[in-house]
């Protein structure tokens, strides 16, 4: 089982969009796939038409031993299950702090499903917190969407530093440019300087495309409702480039 976390300290960079599309592609190629929506805002949960409710909330899962399996929801797509978000997840930091292995709790919970899934995607809330520390420890790969901007490099460096400091299991880090706009000079400049041969930056670039915004109305992954669109092809390329083997 491989664990992939969509991670960035910032919001609105494309984490959820990436998680939903890549998880769909993984399932489509036959991997038994789970997406855990860790963000109390429940955007990924919404995109799969699932209600953002977990019985007993995060407390039941983290401290009361309610099995993750009991909260699973099968999505409309074969081989893809969802562990929905719940508004109570906003207190996850505090609850994690109360548990014994405070930085390893999420990883422990995820490993209880290791026989059931080949790929687990984590859609993370934007923050640096105990939740993110848990995510680092639990993951094999951090997928980091970056909007091409002056501070992109700094964001990435901060993140790799954070990973290095976290200790224990160190996930690989793979960033990619998300919502890139070729008409913007700044975007072109940043992409040119950063992606040349940076070991942590993927070659695939996901441009800003209106069909991606349509996911919110269609409530489905792009490759499911527009399989031949440029956006779908971009995510397929990105998946082929970063997918763990």
């Amino acid at each position: 089982m491989k664990v992939l976390a969509m991670y960035n300290i910032k919001g609105g960079v494309g984490k959820t969009t990436t998680a939903v599309n890549l998880a769909y592609l993984a399932a489509r190629e036959g991997q038994r796939t789970l997406l855990w929506d860790l963000d109390p805002q429940a955007a990924a949960t919404f995109l799969f038409r699932v209600r953002p409710r977990v019985k007993g909330g995060s407390r039941a899962l983290l401290t009361r031993g309610r099995p993750l399996a009991a909260a699973l929801k099968e999505t409309d797509f074969e081989g893809l299950d969802l562990l929905p978000a719940d508004f109570s997840y906003r207190n996850m930091d505090l609850e994690l702090d109360d548990t014994k292995k405070r930085t390893r709790k999420l990883g422990q919970l995820i490993s209880t499903l290791s026989g059931d899934y080949d790929m687990v995607f984590l859609d993370c809330p934007p923050s640096i917190s105990l939740v993110s520390e848990n995510v680092m420890r639990a993951s094999d790969l951090l997928v980091v969407p970056l909007i091409p901007a002056t501070l992109s490099l700094r964001t990435l460096d901060q993140l790799t530093g954070f990973v290095a400091d976290a200790g224990g299991n160190q996930p690989q880090v793979k960033a990619f440019f998300s919502m890139a706009d070729r008409r913007k000079r700044l975007h072109r400049q940043v992409i040119a300087t950063l992606s040349a041969d940076h070991p942590h930056v993927a070659r695939t670039i996901v441009p800003a495309l209106s069909i991606i915004e349509q996911m919110a109305e269609r409530r489905a992954p792009v490759p499911a409702f527009a399989p031949r669109s440029r956006a779908a092809i971009c995510y397929e390329q990105l998946w082929a480039e970063i997918r763990p083997t």
């Binding site: 038409r49 699932v50 699973l72 099968e74 299950d81």
Partner: protein, 515 residues
């Protein structure tokens, strides 16, 4: 109430099954289902597709007897075999392409399905016993958010047969689905328990006839003959198509029983019946013998390969090829015979005789009762075995043992024929001892005959310039058979003594007098 057994193989691999038989008053249609649900739910169905389902088993229903059922499903998307084990075990599936029935299990693609089938089916071919088309419409049950709660299959057989709806909730949506199911139930579509499609049993074994000792003997003879004639007729198509070796075997067993009854029943029959029919039935027996003999060798090849010490299994290849060639030739003769006018006349003539003997008036048949005939036949057959066996000592030639084997068979058939009126326990004990004796004599004679046959085969092989190794391997087989024969000869005295001891005699008397 219409029959509503749901074919479980249609929902293989999916979760919980809820089915709905068509309510008698309101047909189960997409419209009726939609009308039964509230606004919280929506259903959608795609266009129908046709799934062809064939039920498979061996001719003698070995899978059914072991509680299994096997199905071959084909639809435009592909074909698969579905094996449903007994109890609550999950079905096994295997994709197949171009499957043709009947087929031996060795012709199936390797995998779990074949592994499970092989020990059950052994040398018998799998064949289609029943088949039907289903029209299937795949659909979904959704909630207000248009989220799929359950996958649906609307399953229709023939136009006038009941339809079913199978409901397979997605993980995490069991509760929501149950709410919808309750609405459907309230609208007159109650859940049913899936019942396995029952394969129509067509028993090919010998059925036990119920009869009194005082009934006319001829009644018993005709009943037994009719049974054997039915078995011959049932196996005939499989013999002609060479489906597997056991069709011919079963055909021959029924024929042999028919002939032995002709002999045993002589005293109770109109004069000319035995004389008129024995030659024709013998002709039929002789017609079928060569192929059966070659089948025995072919089936025995793997075992024979195990006998080899100096030679290896590959050295039997020439022999195997020769067997195959002889068998093809023998089969041509057999098929020609079975398609001949003479065969048709024998079979229909024999059926007419049975009809005549069954109906009144009883003609010139003797007034013997079943009990009287049983006493005569069993006593006579028993005495013949005892006398024949007593004459055998160390110096007796093999022919005497062969003829004793024949007498044992006659006694065995007599015990079988009169089983309906005989004491079960006594008969079982007699048969057990007799079986041991038959086994010894059978091994003795089979080895003797096979030695001679292998010798003839080897001679032909030599004339065809077979490799020396192939000939030497034949020598090893002959030597093994010779040892077998000696061993059987050595066991004869004990087996015969056991059979002819006083306790056996007492039991035979018990059988003759009846309960």
């Amino acid at each position: 109430m219409r029959r509503s057994s749901f074919p479980p193989y249609l929902v293989v691999g999916q979760g919980q099954l809820l089915g709905f038989p068509e309510a008698d008053e309101s047909p189960l249609t997409v419209e009726a289902l939609a009308a039964a649900l509230t606004d919280d739910f929506a259903i959608e169905f795609g266009p129908p597709s046709v799934v062809h389902g064939a039920d498979l088993d061996t001719f003698d229903r070995r899978l059914g007897a072991a509680g299994f059922s096997l199905h071959h499903l084909s639809d435009p998307a592909g074909q698969q075999l579905v094996l449903i084990p007994p109890g609550a075990h999950a079905p096994l599936t295997m994709p197949v392409t171009n499957a043709h029935w009947p087929a031996l299990v060795t012709a199936l693609p390797a995998g779990a399905v074949r592994d499970e089938l092989a020990p059950l089916v052994t040398i018998r071919a799998l064949m289609v016993l029943d088949e039907r088309d289903h029209r299937i419409r795949h659909g979904e049950l959704r909630n207000e958010d248009q989220k799929i709660l359950a996958r649906l299959q609307l399953i229709e057989q023939a136009a006038d047969a009941p339809a079913w709806l199978s409901v397979n909730p997605l993980r995490g949506y069991g509760g929501d689905t149950r709410r919808a199911v309750r609405l459907l139930t309230a609208a007159g579509f109650p859940p049913i328990r899936p019942v396995q499609v029952a394969l129509t049993r067509n028993d090919t074994g010998v059925r036990q006839v119920r009869i009194e000792r005082s009934a006319p003997a001829i009644t018993l003879l005709v009943a037994a003959w009719s049974e054997h004639l039915a078995v011959m007729r049932a196996n005939l198509p499989g013999v002609l198509d060479d489906v597997d070796t056991e069709f011919l075997h079963d055909f021959r067993v029924a024929l042999r029983r028919t002939r032995s009854i002709l002999k045993l029943g002589r005293a109770a029959l109109p004069k000319d019946v035995s004389d008129r029919w024995e030659p024709d039935l013998k002709w039929l027996g002789d017609l079928t013998t060569p192929v059966r003999d070659l089948d025995v060798y072919e089936l025995g090849l793997p075992e024979m390969a195990g006998w080899l010490k100096a030679a290896g299994p590959a050295d039997l290849q020439t022999f195997a090829v020769q067997l195959r060639r002889h068998r093809s030739a023998a089969r041509r003769t057999l098929v020609r015979g079975l398609r001949s006018a003479r065969f048709r006349n024998v079979l229909s003539g024999w059926a007419d005789v049975l009809a005549d003997l069954a109906g009144p008036p009883p003609g010139q048949a003797s007034g013997l009762t079943v009990g009287e005939l049983a006493n005569r036949s069993i006593g006579r057959a028993y005495r013949r075995v005892v006398r024949g066996g007593a004459d055998i000592d160390q110096g007796t030639p093999a022919e005497a043992l062969h003829s004793l084997r024949k007498r044992c068979k006659e006694l065995r058939y007599a015990l079988e024929l009169f089983a309906p009126i005989s004491d079960r326990a006594a008969r079982k004990r007699v048969v057990a001892d007799l079986k041991d004796l038959q086994d010894v004599l059978g091994r003795f004679q089979d080895a003797d005959v096979q030695k001679q046959t292998l010798y003839r085969f080897a001679e032909q092989m030599r004339e065809a310039h077979a490799p020396t190794k192939a000939l030497l391997a034949m020598g090893e087989l002959v030597s093994h058979l010779d040892a077998d024969q000696q061993r059987a000869r050595g066991e004869f005295d004990r087996a015969f003594a056991r059979f002819s001891r006083p306790a056996g005699r007492t039991r035979i008397r018990l059988l003759r007098v009846g309960r």
